[in-house]
């Protein structure tokens, strides 16, 4: 192993000689600086490779002596990783720093060298006083570094930073000397091995050490000085502070953990968690990106510290240090790379006057970094968080679990809010390109991808099939330059290929849903061919989301499931964000998506999926709740309409028709894992039923009042999912059959509707129904498609939709859910309102002159619709095509009440013969048609305005196309039902959180002295707590 002392000699030698080297030219000096950092990196990687392949940790003494007499450095796995991380951050930041360092006095470059060396020293040393020296080296380096490019805000911040730093180092010294006094050594290992520190004096001495390190870790509320620095310093400096510095300090904390007693550890945990919560609360109030990242930094560091302390405190997880290393280390690695990258990126893009959107590469980097920060798969934070949550759940620490997940959600909220804003940029501005400054962020992103992927594949998710979404996204992203239509075909092919690959390993339920989920993906990939051009981003995301849906079906373990689930959430969120006005809806989509996912995660982690006793209890209920959020049950549906409406038209269709079935699948899978039962007992079923019903009614009522077609369809989807939930909740053969039948039907007709509507919007350029009219003549196929779809959707015989209604009411009445049945009847009546309006306002009534040039939709939309119409007719004439597989699927888990007699389906209460109904209706219709035609004398088509209009001739279609606020009387009567209570509730919830954050952030007065006061008060309070604990 390389002796680390060589590296210190190298760093110091280079630093001391730098003024001389600088005389040869600044470039050479900078090359030397970066070269030294690279040497550290090489050494770190070298150590890592040795230690990971089974090498032992090694101690290196100085002056020819070892531990008690001399200072000892240790190279173990954690140290090697720490050194690597520090050097890596230094090199990543170089891309952004180099130019500034070139223009500033040499002191900047020296400071960089010193900071990095100091941090490495903190990581390596085993001597408490030597640790102090290295803390001071890095501190002084940081002080100098903060102001090196002479920006005034940074100068101000640096002064504040120094005050707090001075207090911390004084505390540390006091601690060190009393440790020496009591334990008679400065060496960590010797100090930890004895009992000299276990008395009250020892506790107090260790407390001072700990307090100093905690203050250096920027705990809430004693971190204003740090946040100010993060905000104002050169982004490269902030990156190093947030990444490298935090890593080194956390390792220092980790080192002194053996000295700490349980009370100390509790303090660390409490302080860390409080910091995590408060940092994220305040961060959510930030609109300045760098400061926001600063708050996020302190929050993350708090979490890692808390995890490390908890792991030691009571053997969280399996109790081994392996757990702490994996979780805290994983979180730290994730934080390090993501935050470094984000600081560099934000510095680059926020620095510019340019307010335009980001270039694709920058966008990809920003997306990866943000997603990693939030802990989305497949990044290291995801794996770490999973293990953490699992361990917390195992040990019953629900409050901590809730806090961790809640904080993460807040973080997701503000990070993605920023990302959304940056993605879109301001209209009309040139795209922001990163140039050389992009090297750091892009590299950080790539490292995150590599680390996460390797960690996942070699760890908990070795199944390569589950990685297909990411592979597809990556490949299509790299191919993003090729013509869009080619990519669309590739995307559809990927869905088909994936389907073929997983088909064999899916059970019946999986195969049933695979048809919808993967088929839907392929269908809408094809539909996307309607437009040429590159359509950047669409296909990679569509393909990733589709394959992620497939992966959800194919997952075997809870973690695999959750992995695929979050992949799906992330990909679909970006699809929403891609929409023209997708920013706000995408934010609410991801926040609710992740909120649901976190509930799911908590439940899964607590064993909510294992079919054990836990699953039947409230871990299972948590899973259920998470799925309901994603399904958009009333109350947590607020994310749904906006995101369905604002995403690209094919994406909306995909979301509504296909993706919305993922939670349905999961519900069935959950119930099946419990032996066809719901967690929590019979009441769950009852409550879920009513919830589904409320969703059905609410969705329909909301849909009635929309002016925007896609919103109408979005709410309609909501309502339909409500019926699916309702039927599912019945938990008997008829109910499940109904639920699956409705799901498949919904897929069929909602696909048709979205395809048709996509064509309409593409041709007319508007989504407002009242701005259309009379399109039946221009777009007959689309009209027919919509007509069939709404007949099916409304449940009017003879199309297959009636089967759904018949099954539903048979289930409900058979089950004894009479009131539910009545409300369902009302809800399905309400559906007529919006459906009629949909077809009337768009296709019937008076055509608009401005739309006289409108043509039928492109073939890419029409052909799938024709196909779907054929399928719909087939299953309407022969319901057994659909119902036989479903009945087989549901099997004999429940007492059998449904059975076919020939073409007649018989329930406990009645019967329905779809084929005969179709024949009779067809016959009657033919008869009537024949009569009509036979008596049609001399029919003449009249001009547009040739109507009987109260003795007037209208001149403008606007006066005769009654379409705007179509159901006003209805609103008058029942509008009170559709007041946006859920929206208001969540708004109030958000406002509440925001005002807490707002109150907390009042602590950050900007006064350096107040910050110092916070530091001292923090220490005092901590000491009092120590006494209490």
């Amino acid at each position: 192993m390389v002796n680390p002392l060589w590296l210190f000699a190298l760093s110091l030698g280079a630093a001391f000689l730098l003024p001389l080297v600088d005389r040869l030219g600044r470039r050479i000096a900078l090359a030397l600086v970066h070269g030294v950092t690279a040497a550290w990196l090489a050494a770190g990687i070298f150590w890592l490779s040795i230690l990971l392949s089974g090498g032992e940790a090694m101690d290196f003494g100085t002056a020819g002596f070892m531990a008690p007499l001399a200072i000892v450095l240790r190279v173990g796995l954690a140290e090697a990783a720490g050194v690597t991380a520090v050097a890596l951050t230094g090199l990543l930041a170089a891309s952004s720093l180099t130019r500034s360092l070139r223009d500033a006095p040499l002191g900047g470059s020296m400071a960089l060298l010193m900071v990095l060396m100091g941090l490495s020293g903190i990581v390596l040393t085993r001597d408490l006083f030597n640790l102090f020296v290295f803390l001071e080296i890095s501190a002084i380096g940081t002080y100098g570094f903060l102001g090196f490019d002479d920006r005034k805000p940074a100068l101000r911040a640096a002064f504040k930073y120094m005050i707090a730093g001075g207090l911390a180092s004084s505390l540390y010294l006091i601690g060190v000397i009393y440790v020496y006094r009591l334990a008679d050594t400065l060496n960590l290992d010797i100090a930890a091995s004895g009992t000299a520190l276990s008395g009250p004096a020892g506790t107090a001495a260790v407390f001072f050490l700990l307090a100093a390190l905690l203050v250096e870790l920027k705990p809430f509320p004693a971190n204003g000085w740090a946040v100010d620095a993060y905000e104002t310093a050169h982004p490269g400096v902030s990156a190093i502070l947030s990444g490298a510095s935090a890593t080194a300090l956390l390792l220092a904390l980790w080192k002194i953990l053996p000295l700490l007693g349980p009370a100390h550890l509790s303090l660390v945990a409490a302080s860390g968690l409080a910091t995590f919560a408060a940092g994220n609360l305040v961060g959510a109030r930030q609109d300045r990106p760098l400061r926001m990242l600063g708050y996020s930094s302190v929050a993350q560091v708090g979490l890692v510290a808390a995890v490390a302390a908890l792991a030691r405190l009571s053997g969280l997880g399996d109790g081994g240090s392996d757990f702490a290393a994996m979780v805290a280390g994983g979180l730290l690695l994730n934080h390090l790379l993501a935050k470094t990258g984000l600081f560099l990126l934000a510095g680059a893009v926020e620095d510019d006057r340019a307010r335009g959107p980001l270039s694709p590469l920058a966008l990809a980097a920003a997306g990866i970094l943000s997603a990693a920060l939030v802990g989305l798969p497949p990044f290291p934070g995801f794996w770490a968080k999973w293990r953490l949550v699992r361990a917390l759940a195992d040990s019953g620490r629900w409050w901590i679990l809730a806090l961790v997940l809640g904080g993460s959600l807040l973080e997701a909220f503000y990070v993605f809010r920023w990302l959304g804003a940056r993605t879109k940029g301001e209209a009309g501005e040139a795209p922001v390109r990163l140039g050389i400054r992009g090297a750091g962020p892009v590299l950080a992103a790539l490292l995150l991808v590599a680390a996460g992927t390797l960690g996942g594949i070699r760890g908990p998710v070795p199944d390569l099939l589950l990685w297909a979404p990411w592979a597809a996204a990556a490949v299509l992203f790299l191919l993003d330059g090729i013509p869009g239509r080619l990519k669309g075909i590739l995307s559809a092919a990927a869905a088909a290929a994936f389907g073929a690959a997983v088909w064999g390993r899916l059970d019946g339920l999986g195969q049933f849903f695979a048809v919808m989920l993967l088929g839907g993906g392929a269908l809408f990939s094809i539909a996307a061919l309607r437009k040429g051009g590159a359509r950047r981003g669409l296909y990679p995301l569509l393909s990733a989301a589709t394959l992620a849906l497939g992966a959800i079906l194919a997952a075997r373990t809870p973690l695999e499931f959750f992995f695929a689930w979050e992949t799906m959430t992330a990909a679909s969120w970006l699809l929403v964000l891609r929409g023209r006005d997708g920013r706000k809806p995408a934010l609410s989509y991801i926040v609710f998506g992740l909120g649901g996912a976190f509930l799911l995660m908590a439940g899964l982690a607590a064993g909510g999926w294992d079919g054990g006793t836990a699953a039947a209890g409230w871990p299972g209920l948590l899973v259920l709740a998470g799925l309901l959020v994603k399904a958009g049950a009333l109350g947590v549906h607020v994310w749904l309409p906006g995101s369905y409406a604002e995403s690209d038209d094919e994406s909306s269709g995909f979301l509504s028709a296909a993706l919305s079935k993922a939670p349905v699948f999961a519900l069935f899978a959950l119930a099946l894992s419990l032996g066809a039962a719901l967690p929590g007992g019979p009441w769950t079923s009852r409550v879920l039923g009513w919830l589904g019903l409320a969703t059905a009614l609410g969705g329909a009522l909301y849909a009635v009042y929309q002016e925007d077609i896609k919103r109408t369809l979005a709410y309609s989807s909501l309502g339909q999912i409500g019926y699916i939930l309702l039927a599912f909740a019945a938990m008997d053969q008829a109910g499940w059959t109904t639920s699956l039948y409705l799901a498949l039907n919904h897929f069929l007709y909602k696909s048709m509707l979205f395809l048709a509507v996509a064509g309409v919007i593409q041709r007319t350029g508007t989504r407002n129904m009242y701005e259309m009219g009379g399109l039946i003549k221009k777009m007959p196929v689309s009209f027919l498609s919509v007509l069939m779809a709404i007949i099916a959707l409304s449940g009017v015989p003879p199309l297959s939709g009636f089967g759904g209604k018949w099954l539903l009411y048979s289930t409900l009445i058979g089950k004894g859910w009479y009131l539910e049945a009545a409300v369902a009847f009302f809800a399905s009546g309400v559906a007529f309102l919006y459906l009629y309006r949909l077809i009337h306002s768009i296709f019937l009534g008076q055509p608009k002159p401005s739309q006289s040039e409108v043509r039928e939709a492109p073939a890419a939309l029409v052909l799938p619709q024709l196909l779907l119409m054929a399928v719909l007719m087939a299953v309407s004439v022969f319901p057994r095509l659909m119902l036989d597989p479903i009945l087989a699927l549901v099997g004999d888990r429940f007492p059998t009440t449904l059975a076919f007699e020939g073409s007649r389906l018989r329930s406990a209460l009645g019967y329905w013969d779809g084929t005969l109904t179709m024949v009779v209706t067809g016959g009657v219709f033919a008869l009537c048609l024949a009569w009509m035609l036979a008596n049609l004398h001399n029919p003449q088509s009249v001009r547009q305005f040739n109507i009987v209009f109260a003795a007037e001739r209208p001149l403008r279609p606007e006066t005769t196309h009654y379409a705007w606020r179509f159901f006003e009387p209805y609103r008058k009567a029942l509008g009170f039902l559709t007041r946006e209570r859920a929206e208001r509730f969540w708004d109030a919830f958000g406002t509440g959180a925001a005002s807490v954050g707002g109150a907390l952030r009042r602590l950050y007065t900007g006064n350096g002295q107040t910050y110092a006061l916070h530091v001292v008060l923090y220490v005092a309070v901590l000491y009092l707590l120590l006494g209490v604990l």
Binding site: I776, V796, P797, L916, H961
Partner: protein, 304 residues
């Protein structure tokens, strides 16, 4: 039971013929009775026949598009179909119609078939009144469906079936077995709903635009109007038969059927004459108020 398909079609046509004539006469006579009540002479009983013949015989017709033509077809098919799915006379092979296609639920939903088609056809006419009428009609429909559905549910609970034939069968054996005797609340709810369904007063605001010239079917005339008028008779008859089956013990022969349905219809018209019109929002709130409560009560009674 197994009858040749051609024979069944033949029976169905006979049944249809009967109900058509009966429906027309019913409308005619009811108009006559109304007139008498109001002290007018009124139209002849066979006036509906005259209207249809006149319309159908018109030499010219104008159209606004395919859907415009298809609207009345849908409408008439809806009316005929609804009737076809109801067994009109209990135990009669002739009047069994195609009731083996589905149970009560099929009938309830098939009612919408014609209304939907009509609405679409009327809409294509491009007249704003059509749309207004439809919007009002649909809005009101959602409301009166609630007491009706509750009442149907009560019936289903009571007889443990949704099969109309079985429901009728269960009511055989005298007045005290009829639903109207066993669960009068269900019948009350259903009858109030019927007022809305038939768009009689006080729930006739829906067809108010029609009165200016003539409502959702504003643009219709000639043959197309004739079909609508025909449908009115058949559809009315179908609904009355359905009510009779559900609440009034059904009928074992045609005469009973005629008497019972006449009386049911008479009640409605009578009530209709006594009340002023509701606005749409008023009628919605009305239906969701007391009738719904009655319906819920009926369900509770049935369930206990």
């Amino acid at each position: 039971m197994e009858t040749g398909i051609l024979v069944r079609v033949g029976y169905a046509l006979v049944s249809l013929f009967v109900i058509t004539n009966y429906g027309l006469l019913l409308i005619g006579s009811m108009a006559r009775i109304s007139a008498k009540v109001q002290g007018r002479v009124g139209q002849p009983v066979w006036q509906p026949y005259i209207d249809i013949v006149k319309s159908t015989a018109k030499r010219n017709s104008i159209g606004h598009g395919v859907m415009f033509y298809l609207g009345p077809v849908f409408r008439l098919a809806g009316g005929v179909g609804t009737y076809m799915f109801i067994p009109a006379v209990y135990g009669s092979v002739l009047f069994r119609n195609f009731s083996d296609s589905g149970d009560l639920l099929l009938v309830m939903y098939f009612i919408f078939f014609g209304q939907l088609g009509m609405a679409l056809g009327a809409s294509e006419g491009g007249h704003p009144y059509s749309a207004i009428g439809v919007s009002r009609g649909l809005a009101q429909m959602t409301a009166f469906e609630v007491p009706f559905a509750l009442s149907v549910i009560a019936v289903a609970i009571q007889y443990r079936t949704l099969d109309i034939t079985a429901i009728v069968a269960a009511q055989q054996g005298g007045f005290w077995n009829w639903t109207v005797a066993t669960n009068p609340l269900a019948v009350a709810a259903a009858l109030i709903a019927f007022l809305g369904m038939s768009m009689h007063n006080p729930f006739s605001i829906v067809i108010a635009p029609q009165e200016i010239p003539i409502g959702p079917p504003t643009e219709y005339q000639s043959n197309l109007l004739g079909m609508l008028q025909t449908n009115r008779a058949i559809f009315n008859g179908a609904k009355l038969v359905l009510y009779m089956n559900l609440y009034f013990g059904g009928a074992t022969d045609v005469v009973t059927m005629v008497v019972k349905t006449f009386l049911i219809y008479f009640i409605n018209v009578f009530v209709g004459q006594a009340f002023p019109r509701f606005r749409v929002d008023q009628s919605i709130r009305f239906f969701l108020g007391v009738p719904t409560l009655i319906g819920i009560a009926s369900v509770i009674i049935a369930a206990i």
